[in-house]
Structures are given as C-alpha cells and as structure tokens.
C-alpha cells in the first residue's frame, strides 16, 4: 500500500491533488454539462414549462393596476391607403376598459365600454344613445381596424389557452397555443414568440379555423415605463386581405388610480 501511494505521489498533480481526482473531476464536469444541456432542452427558461411561461406573460402584460393612454390608430388598406384615428383608452385591471375616439372630427365621441362577464356598450354621439353590444361579436372587427373585439380584449392567455413548447429562437421562446376545451375563439391556434428577457410577447401568428395562418400581430417598441413593460406599437396584419392596422400608444400613464365611475354608461356618454 505504501509503495503504491508513493508511486502515485511520484507524479504530483497541481494544487496537490492526485491526477485520478482530476480525471474524475473532468469526467464529472462533462457529465454535469451534458445533464445541464439536457435539462435546458427539457425544462426551458430556467426550468419553466410552456404553461408557466404563459402565466409569466400574463403577469407581465397585466401587471399595471390601471392604464391610461392616447392611441393612434393607423389603418393601411391593400392599396397602401392610410387612415389615421385617435382614441383615448382607459383600462382598469384586465376586464374593464373604455375607449373613446377623439379624431377625426366625424368620429369624435364614439365610445366603447367593456365590462366583466363580456358585457359591452357602444355610444354613438349623433344618436346620443348607448346600446349594448351582444357579447358574441368577438370575431367582428373593431371599428374598422384589423383587430377583432377578441384581439382587443385585455388578455389573460393562460386562462384560455394551453401552451406547448416549440423552440427557442433569437432570444425568444416560441410556444404554440391551443384553445382550452371551453374557450370560444375565432382562432384554431396561435404561435407566440415571447421575449426571454422580459416575458413580453414579440409577435403572434394567428391561425383561422381552417388552420391557415391568417393574421400576424407584432408587438414592437417594448419599453419599460415605470416598473411596467409595454409595447408602444402593435401591428395587426391581415394576411388574407393584405391590410394592416398599427396601434401607436402615446402618453401612457400607469397606476393613476382611475375611478370606477369611468367604467359606466354615464361616463361613456360624456
């Protein structure tokens, strides 16, 4: 035994470690590396599942308590003709929202109010009346844009969609979203690119019920305002009709403490 040890000591490794320890260490290191690579494949995003990623998206997107913004709506038709509108948008939580058009003059005062349980009101100033809009108009286009009422909803993806991991691409997680059993939607599936650094969606491919890619939503100019992430430019492209609508968010304010009165029919008529 002594002689054996001595023989080994005859070749001392660095830091006083024996070579066999070093070899073992190297092997273990590579094994761990392999394990880590495998783990990255199986548990992407710091070990998050697709549904967990989707939850994080919801948290990021719906983080503010309320939001007030002036939105510029640019509609570009298939011939490249542009139409610009402006509206004020108030949102509290994820299910209360009021939109009022301010420009052009002929549309000034037209407003939409969305309340929980899919209750929606419309106000037409020329008639001086509000009208309730049936909830199932989801796949109806909102006010001549390429966004449908469903697209305009304050979104909580994880409640209605179940995610499936596809791949990672250019710093984005790519998930495929399919509607959960009860979800009523105009889309058969979505493919969503989610920014790895902040869990804010980058773009969404929307597939119609014939399972064709029909629309493309891009969320650009993602900035951190205060403590919240927000996309200041959202583009919805209708691939079939070759039209697109750009929503540009200006003068965004978060957590301003919007009063509950704002989300009433009476305020809608003001």
């Amino acid at each position: 035994m002594e002689t054996h040890k001595k023989q080994k000591k005859g070749l001392p490794g660095p830091w006083g470690l024996s070579w066999s320890w070093i070899f073992a260490g190297i092997i273990i290191f590579f094994l761990l590396l392999l394990l880590a690579l495998w783990a990255v494949q199986v548990f992407p995003a710091q070990g998050l599942s697709a549904d967990e990623i989707l939850k994080r998206v919801d948290e990021v997107v719906n983080a503010p308590k309320d939001r007030e913004a002036r939105i510029k709506v640019i509609i570009i038709d298939s011939r490249g003709k542009q139409e610009i509108r402006e509206m004020l948008s108030y949102q509290k939580g994820s299910d209360r929202r009021l939109v009022k058009f301010t420009s052009p003059a002929e549309h000034r005062g037209i407003g939409f109010l969305s309340l929980p349980n899919e209750v929606m009101y419309l106000y037409l100033p020329a008639y001086g009346r509000t009208r309730r809009i049936a909830s199932h108009v989801k796949n109806t286009k909102f006010a001549g844009t390429d966004f449908t009422y469903e697209d305009m909803e304050a979104l909580r993806y994880s409640e209605k969609w179940s995610g499936q991991w596809l791949r990672e691409e250019d710093g984005n997680y790519v998930l495929e979203l399919r509607p959960k059993g009860e979800t009523k939607t105009q889309y058969s599936k979505m493919v969503m690119w989610i920014r790895r650094e902040n869990f804010y969606p980058a773009k969404v491919e929307l597939y119609d019920r014939a399972n064709r890619l029909s629309k493309l939503l891009s969320l650009d100019k993602v900035e951190k305002i205060g403590q919240y992430w927000v996309s200041r430019q959202m583009t919805m492209e209708d691939l079939k009709e070759k039209r697109k609508t750009i929503l540009e968010l200006e003068e965004i304010k978060f957590d301003v403490g919007l009063a509950d009165e704002i989300f009433t029919e009476r305020f809608l008529m003001r």
Binding site: I110, M120, L124, R132, V137, N139, T140, K141, A143, R212
Partner: protein, 783 residues
C-alpha cells in the same frame, strides 16, 4: 403559264418545303390560348366595359356563379354545417373573390343581449342544435334581405353566391368549383348557374361538338369528294391543302400571341368551306386538260382562283376597317391570312403534288378519268337540270324573282333579340338550373348601379333607396341591395325607425360601426364617395334588356337629382353593347365588302353595270339567307352575324369561276363556228347580237361552262353544304344555326351561279361581258 412551268420544275422542293414549313408552324400551336371572355372583345375604351371593369376592380362582384342547393329543409343542422364547410372551402379557392351564403352573410339584429353586427350564423354557433336551427329558420325566413335572396321562401333552397375574380380563367375556376361541390356530397340536389356557368357550358359544348362533329364533317366531305372525283387525290388534295393552311394560320396566330376567340375559332371551318374550293377547281381543270396543255389550263383557272381569293380576302379585310370589336378585327385579319395561305398552297403545293403524281402514275389517272364521266350519274343529272334552266331562261328568271320577292318579305321579320340562355336546349341541365333559379329567386345575373356622390349625405341615401324601390317594381329586377338598406336597418336598431338616418352625423356614426364588416366593401367604396346598388336579373333578351336600360335611364333623368351621379352597369349591359356594335359594325363591314368585291368584279368584266350583274348570285344569296332567318325565327346575333360575310366570300367565288370560264368558252365557240370566222364584217352590234343569240352560240358556251367549271362548282357546293349541315347535329343552338345558314349560303350561291347567272347572261346576250367585242376586235386586227 410560266408560273406553272416553274412549279413543274421545282415540284419536289415545293412539296418538301411545304411539309417542312408545316412542321415548323404547327409546333407553336400547342401554346395557342383561348379567350372566351366576351367582355374582352370590346375595346378597353368602351364606356360599358370601363364601368364594368371599374366595378369589378373596386367591388369585385360582377362575375357571379350561383350554387343552388335544394333539400327538404336547408335549416337542418347537418345541412347548415355542410353549407358552412362548402362556403369556407370555396372562399379558399384561388380566383374566387368572395362567397356569400347564409353561413357568412352580414346581419344586423337586436336581441336581449344587445346590438349584434356580424355574421348571421357565427362560426362559434356551430355545431347548431335542432332548437337553434328552428329559431334561425323562423328568423331568416321573416327577413326580406335573406328570403328570396339567399334562401327560398319555403326554406327548401339555399344559395351560395360565388364572385369570381375578373382576371382569372373563369372556366378553370368553375371546374374547381364543380370538383369541390362533388367532393362535398351535400345532402340534396345541387345546381350550378350564373353567367360563368353558362359560359363554361358554352365552351364545353363547343369543344364537345367539335370533337364529335369535326370528324363527322371531314368524313362527309371525304365521301363527297370521293364520289365526285372517284380518285384518292380528289379527296386528299383539297383536304390536305385545307389542313395545311389551317395549321399555318393557327401557327401564325400563336406566334403573334393572338388568342383564339369564339369568333375566330370558326376559321378552320371557313377554310374548309372556302379553301377547299381552290383545290377543287385546280384539280378539276387539271384532270380535264389533255396531257400537254396542263400548264396552260392551270394558268387559266388560276386566274379565277386568284380573283376568287382576292374577293374573299376583300370581304374579310373589311372587318379590319369596319369593326369596332377587337375580336372581329383579329378574325378578319387571320381569316384573310388563312385564305392567302390556301391560295398560295393551291397554286404551288397542289399543282406540284399533281405533277409528281402524274409523272409517277400516268396510266392510272387516264383510266379513272374515263370511267368517271360515265359513272357519275348524279353530276350528269345536275348538269341536265341546269341546262333546262338555261334553255328556259325567262322562266328561270321568274322563279328567282319570285324567290327573292318571298325572301324580302322575311327580312323585316328578323329577330334582333336573342338571349344567351336560348343557346341551350330547353332540356339541358344549365337551362333547367337557370329556369329553376329564375322561378325561385328571379335570376342569377348581377347588375349594379354605380352611385357617385357623398354617400354619407342622407339625401343621397334616400335617392338610392328610391331607385331601389323603382327597381323592385321592375318586372325583371330582383333583390336590390345597397348600403342604404343597412343604414336604415341600423337606424331602426338605434331606435329611430327603419328609415335613412336624418343627419349626416348619424350616418357617419353608423358607418363607423359597419366598417370592416364582411361584404361591406362589395357595396361601399372606402372613401364613402361612391357606392353601388346591387340587384339580380334573369337571362334577358337584348330587346328586354334595352327597354330596362331605357326605363332606368329615363327614371334617373326624370328625378334630375343633383346630389349624385348614377350609372347602370353589369355584364348584360356589356353584352348589349357588344351585340349592338357587332351588328352595326357588321353592316358597315358588309357594305365595305360589297364595295371591294364590286371593284374586283369590275376589274374582271370592265363594265360598271356588268359588275353589278356579276354580283347577282351574292345579292340573291344575301337576300335569301336573311329572308330565311326572318321566316325561321333565327335571330341576328353574335352567332349568326358572320354568315353575311361568308355568303359574300363564297358566293362571289362561284360567280367569278363561272364568268371566267364562260368567256373562254364563248371565245372558242365563236372561233370554231364558221359563220363568225367568216362574217367579220358584221360591225353593227345590234345585228351582231341578234345573229349571235339566234345561233345558239351563247347557250352552247354556257353549257360547256356548266359541264366543266359547273362540275367543280357543284362538287364544292354539295360537299361543303353537306359538311356544314353536320353541325345541325350539335348541342349548341348557335352552332346549329351557323351550320344551317352556311349550308344554305353554299347551296344558294352555288345554284345562283349555275342557274340564275347563266340565265341572266343569256337574257342580256352577254353584252356586259364584252367577250364578243373582244373577239371581233381580235379577228379584225388579225385581218
């Protein structure tokens, strides 16, 4: 003569060169395109076309196919599901602009839940249960905008309206649609109607007819030629010449990238009718002439063949200058080129081939020529028959005058009104589908009224509504629809009654809500400065259509509304325009052709009055054909209007051949009759003429002409007439009429040249042919 010596010397190079050229020119034919779209036949500058194209570009719904689906109850959940699937499948089809059916049509309604703007049946509503289906049935059948438009009042028939893009091959798209319908296996009966379906049926029928009838036609021509000539070359020479000239013409068309239209596809048949005559005359003369004089005989007959071709080309060239329609101009140009090819081939390739055959098998030819005369009893009887007409020239003239008189009575009765549906047999599937649609929905053909003005102005909208009410009261017009209807309905939903909103602001508010809805862009321009009123009509004849246009225009004029400009449009209007300009330009062309041909005949007979007499057979034919059309109830339309030019083109040929030969025969008769060769001092023309007519030399010459050239004319006339009569067996009515009329044309101009013309010549003592004068001048000079 020198020309035919040249042909004789180079007979082999000519034949081989022709074969080579044929191979080269036949090659590109496979790339020849077919353009059956009638609207493209009018020049792009035509106002009706311009508006139609503009509306097609902007609103996309001018070329509409209608799928009618019939079952016990179309509101059965499974049926609705099938309809929805079919609708979305068709929407995916390349070449389809949009599809409208119960499952995707825009609807506005108010329920307990609130205002609904969207599809009548939403995608999310599927699958539909029985109770919901029942509810839907009640709702839809009570709503005027759906009942009688997308579903029949009894709920048994549902329509899918498929708007095709204007720049696609509509026949191909229709084929795809048929495939999809077949695969969808809808539980009930499916019918396909609408203009694209009709056009598809027409081109399908044309192709089918040509496929079955063309071989039959060739067989008949083949048999006739064989029975007449009793030799293989008598059959093959005319047929091969026609085939080659047809290949050349189509090859040149393809090289020039000119598509075949439903007018120019008549070129092959016309070449068969006209071009085969050239070879028949050449062949007839070649056989007739004794061994050493073939070249001389050919030189003589080629003069009349040449003149015949020139006159025919003159007839077709008149289209290029006389016609407003691009398709007719192209037809005129390429028919002329085809005739030119036929002429060239029958003067070079034909004789060259004959020289080769003759030098190879001289014995055979002789024997066949001999027994032919004896055996061809039919031709002999024909000759005898025409002789008796000649001898009784007064009676002949009387008979013809009587026929002309009767025919003239028919001309004013010519129907100027035709409708596309009449092109099909009443029992045909498409006709039954259209009748079915007409009964249940009032027609399948879309029309539109383009309204230019401030569409958001309530006054403009009210005017549109008024026009819709006027249209509703029109017997032929059904289901008018415009943005005004939607706005009135929305106004009702907002609680102010189903009328046009009373302020511009209200209109503007409502339009804001409608914006982007499926189907809105089919009736409203995005800048809101223009809109269309849609409606449907059944297949109308041109007269009814014209009346509708007149009433509509006078209504617009009467209202003298300043706020907006209203213009009627739709493919029926283009057809009306097409029809009118076609007839008009055809008459102009006919006049130009008559003028040009008059000049040609004048060149031949060198007497202004004589030229008119030479044109007697064609004038007779024109009167007879048009009179026949009047009595037989055949309308003058796109299909039959070409017959006039064919009549002239062929009719004059027979006359030219006859006159040319008659002069030759008269000349030789005069020189072979002893009285004339000696009585050179008969200078006073009155006595001269009396002497000549008494001597029977005119009749002798006429008989000789009938026996020689008359034979060729008879062969040609009978062959082509029988060939064209085959078309009467076809499916498509215009093709049948065309066949019948061309056959009539051939017979009448042939008989005109064989009986009427000789009678006129004998009656006028051939004064206008100046042959006698020429003879005496010559004999005097030689003295």
């Amino acid at each position: 003569m020198r020309f035919f010596q040249f042909v004789f010397r180079f007979r082999w190079p000519i034949v081989l060169g022709t074969v080579l050229l044929t191979l080269i020119l036949a090659w590109p034919i496979s790339r020849l395109k077919i353009n059956a779209d009638l609207t493209s036949y009018l020049p792009r500058t035509d106002t009706a076309v311009k508006t139609l194209e503009y509306i097609a570009d902007t609103y996309g719904g001018n070329f509409v196919a209608v799928i009618a689906f019939e079952s016990e109850d179309v509101f059965q959940p499974s049926t609705l599901e099938a309809l929805r699937q079919l609708t979305s499948q068709l929407q995916l089809l390349e070449g389809v602009n949009y599809v409208t059916s119960l499952t995707n049509v825009l609807d506005l309604k108010k329920s307990e839940e609130g205002l609904e703007i969207g599809k009548l049946i939403r995608d999310e509503d599927f699958p539909i249960d029985e109770a919901k289906a029942k509810e839907l049935r009640e709702y839809v059948l009570a709503k005027k905008r759906f009942r009688g438009r997308l579903v029949s009042a009894d709920g048994r028939v549902a329509l899918l309206i498929v708007a095709l893009r204007k720049d696609v091959d509509k026949n191909k798209v229709m084929e795809e649609i048929e495939k999809i319908i077949e695969a969808s296996r809808l539980p009930g009966e499916v019918r396909l109607a609408g203009l694209p379906a009709q056009l598809r049926e027409i081109s399908r029928f044309i192709i089918n007819d040509l496929k079955t009838l063309l071989p039959l036609m060739i067989t008949v021509v083949f048999l006739c030629l064989f029975l007449s000539f009793r030799s293989w070359r008598g059959v093959f020479l005319p047929l091969v010449t026609v085939a080659i000239s047809t290949l050349w013409t189509l090859g040149v068309m393809s090289l020039a990238k000119v598509p075949l239209t439903i007018i120019s596809d008549a070129i092959p048949v016309l070449l068969l009718a006209i071009g085969s005559a050239y070879s028949i005359h050449i062949l007839n003369r070649f056989d007739e002439a004794p061994g050493g004089e073939k070249e001389k005989a050919l030189a003589h007959v080629s003069a009349s063949v040449f003149l015949a071709a020139v006159t025919t080309i003159a007839g077709f060239i008149s289209f290029i200058f006389g016609s407003y329609l691009t398709a007719i101009r192209e037809f005129g140009l390429f028919a002329s080129i085809g005739i030119l090819f036929s002429l060239l081939l029958s003067l070079t390739f034909g004789p060259a081939l004959l020289f080769i055959i003759q030098s190879r098998w001289p014995e055979k030819k002789r024997s066949s020529s001999k027994n032919r005369r004896a055996s061809n009893s039919l031709l002999l009887r024909f000759e005898k028959w025409s002789f008796s007409f000649l001898r009784q020239e007064k009676i002949t003239l009387l008979i013809f005058l009587l026929i002309i008189g009767i025919a003239i009575g028919g001309i004013p009765q010519i129907k100027r009104h035709s409708k596309m549906l009449d092109y099909f047999e009443p029992t045909s599937e498409i006709r039954r589908s259209e009748d079915f649609l007409e009964k249940r929905f009032g027609g399948s053909i879309p029309i539109s009224i383009l309204v230019r003005g401030d569409i958001q102005d309530p006054a403009v909208l009210r005017e549109m509504k008024a026009l819709e009410e006027f249209l509703e009261a029109e017997p032929f017009v059904h289901n008018p629809l415009s943005i005004a209807d939607y706005l009135a309905e929305m106004n009702d939903l907002m609680g102010e009654g189903e009328v046009i909103p009373d302020t511009r602001e209200k209109v503007s508010n409502l339009l804001f809500l409608l914006e982007g809805q499926e189907g809105l862009d089919q009736i409203l321009h995005p800048d809101k400065k223009e809109a269309i009123i849609q409606a449907t009509i059944p297949s109308l004849d041109m007269g009814e259509m014209q009346e509708l246009v007149n009433r509509l225009e006078s209504w617009i004029k009467q209202r003298s509304f300043k706020g907006a400009q209203m213009e009627f449009s739709g493919s029926p209007l283009v057809y009306l325009h097409l029809d009118r300009s076609l007839i008009q330009s055809q008459l102009v062309s006919l006049a130009i052709a008559l003028g040009l041909i008059y000049l040609c005949v004048l060149f031949l007979v060198r007497s202004p009055f004589g030229a008119w007499l030479g044109m007697i057979p064609i004038i007779f034919t024109l009167i007879l054909v048009f009179g026949f059309m009047g009595y037989a109830g055949i309308p003058l339309d796109i299909a039959t209007v070409l017959v006039g030019s064919v009549s002239i083109g062929i009719g004059i040929d027979y006359a030219l051949h006859w006159i040319n030969r008659f002069r030759l025969e008269l000349f030789s008769s005069l020189s072979s009759t002893p009285q004339f060769s000696s009585a050179a001092d008969l200078r006073d023309s009155a006595t001269e003429r009396k002497f000549i007519s008494d001597s029977g030399v005119l009749i002798e010459a006429a008989e000789k002409t009938l026996r020689s050239t008359g034979r060729a004319i008879t062969i040609n006339m009978v062959t082509v007439a029988l060939g064209f009569l085959i078309l009467v067996l076809g499916n498509l009515i215009p093709l049948r009429r065309f066949g019948l009329l061309v056959a009539l044309t051939m017979l009448s101009s042939g008989l005109g040249a064989l009986t009427l013309l000789p009678a006129v010549v004998v009656r006028t003592k051939a004064k206008w042919l100046k042959t006698i004068e020429a003879y005496f001048e010559k004999t005097n000079k030689s003295k």
